[in-house]
Amino acid sequence: MEFKGYRIPAMASLVIWAVLWEIVGRLGLTILIPPLSTTLEKLAEIAANESFWDAMAITMRTFLWGSAIAIVVGVPLGILMGRSVILDRMLLPWVNTFISAPLSAIVPVIMAVFGFGETTIILTVVLFAIWIIILDARAGAHAISPSLVEMARVYGASPRQAFAKIYVWSALPEILTGIRLGLLRAVKGVIIGQLLVSVVGFGRLFEIYSSNFLMEHMWALLIVLFALAFLIDLAFGAIERRVDHFASSRS
């Protein structure tokens, strides 16, 4: 982007918002918005804390498990739905329902069944992430070229071979898009799950901070979580671009 002949770096707007935040914080308009500088100081303070790293570990662990389950189940299911009309008719209404449903409302149900532990958080992550992964894998399966399917049949591919050697690869661009969107939803899932369970991880920290009006702590945590989501998106976007070359040559 250029402004009056000067090149403006991509992240320039962030600086403006940061300055704005600092000013609003310093004006002391509300207790809800502390200055950015003190928030960052608090962030350093929290980061030295063991309970922060505990929460971080729980978050990463449940996030990774939940995402892995969502991918391992969602991708094959989506491809099968894309290839089988019967399965598609059976499952698509449910997928469409869950993708737009207020999922937070279901978390208490999971909690009632699986208790207040990490299992509930993992399942919440799965619940948030899996539907978009299924839908995108399904779209990818629809994009598989019919002649590649015929090619697999002519050269004697078993259903398993066709799936592993043709379908997954053919649908890979859509699958990766689905996984990226799924992971972003998984971030929501892992936070909302912890907030609702509220006795482990960041959920517990948020509970402590908010009930004691520790706004600087709250914001510091939020910055961490937002940065996490941003980094995951960035990493996956890079992976996606790497497979673009065959997505465009696929016909």
């Binding site: 002649s147 090619m151 050269y155 004697g156 071979q161 690869w169 890979l172």
Partner: protein, 269 residues
């Protein structure tokens, strides 16, 4: 060096000189929705020859080829390969696709060796076979390239190498050169003739180009407009060992092209 036209009244099968490797008996195909593509077609394909299926576009020649390949099921009738009824693809038949059907994520050599990979042939072994056929279709040195780095003609050569690498007795080609530009296509036709001579396989070839059919085929099966019947079977006897330029100026070549055009003209309106 004569063009002998045998008028084959359907449904009776035409008499053939060599032993038939593929027989098609009373094949009809009606697509869901009521489109009748093929009507009671009976044909024999002699072993070791290149037979073309030629007809007006949309006449069902690709449908017939895909039925023989086992990719489509006929509504009625049966396909016999060496006397045995087939209803699905088999290792004795390979296929070259109109749109190449290459895996864009795989290298030339993996694409060419894919039939062998599916059969569980060890990597070093299948790559040795694929390398040989990649060289024989004129792509030596391109083994590690990806399809998107190749021209259309070169991609189809990969498709041909893949079909030859599985060592099937019958190689079926569905308008293999239609997505290729004219110069490449002529070059390709000449290479195909050389491969037919050296590989001693049976080739089934679908095309809508009269010149192409006459140039490459031993026999041409003319199909009528949909619902297709066998309109005529033409044996083409050209001195194939001679120079391509001479073949294309040969009286037999020119007469055959003209004769087929006169027949096909009836199906145009």
């Amino acid at each position: 060096m004569t063009v002998t036209a045998i008028h084959a009244p359907t449904p009776a099968a035409a008499p053939v000189p060599a032993a038939p490797i593929v027989e098609v008996r009373n094949i009809s195909k009606i697509y869901p929705g009521g489109v009748e593509a093929l009507n009671n077609i009976s044909l024999s394909f002699p072993e070791g020859e290149l037979t073309s299926l030629l007809g007006p576009s949309g006449c069902g020649k690709t449908t017939l080829l895909k039925i023989i390949a086992g990719l489509l099921q006929p509504t009625a009738g049966e396909v016999l390969v060496r006397g045995r009824r087939v209803t699905a693809p088999g290792p004795e038949r390979s296929f070259v696709f109109q749109d190449f059907a290459l895996m864009p994520w795989a290298t030339v050599i993996r694409n060419a060796a894919f039939g062998l990979e599916l059969r569980g042939v060890a990597r070093s072994e299948r790559e040795a076979v694929a390398e040989k056929y990649i060289a024989s279709v004129g792509l030596k040195g391109f083994e590690r390239k990806y399809p998107h780095e190749l021209s259309g003609g070169m991609r189809q050569r990969v498709g041909l190498a893949r079909a030859l690498a599985v060592n099937a007795d019958i190689v079926m080609m569905d308008e293999p050169f239609s997505a290729v530009d004219e110069q490449t296509r002529r070059q390709f036709q000449e290479d195909l003739l050389r491969l037919v001579a050296t590989e001693r396989k049976t080739f089934l070839f679908v095309t809508h180009s009269i010149e192409e059919a006459v140039y490459v085929s031993n026999r041409i099966v003319l199909l009528s407009r949909r619902p297709s019947r066998v309109s005529e079977i033409i044996d083409v006897d050209l001195p194939r060992e001679s120079d391509p330029e001479q073949i294309r100026r040969h009286p037999t070549y020119l007469d055959a092209v003209e004769g087929i055009w006169q027949t096909l003209k009836h199906y145009l309106d």
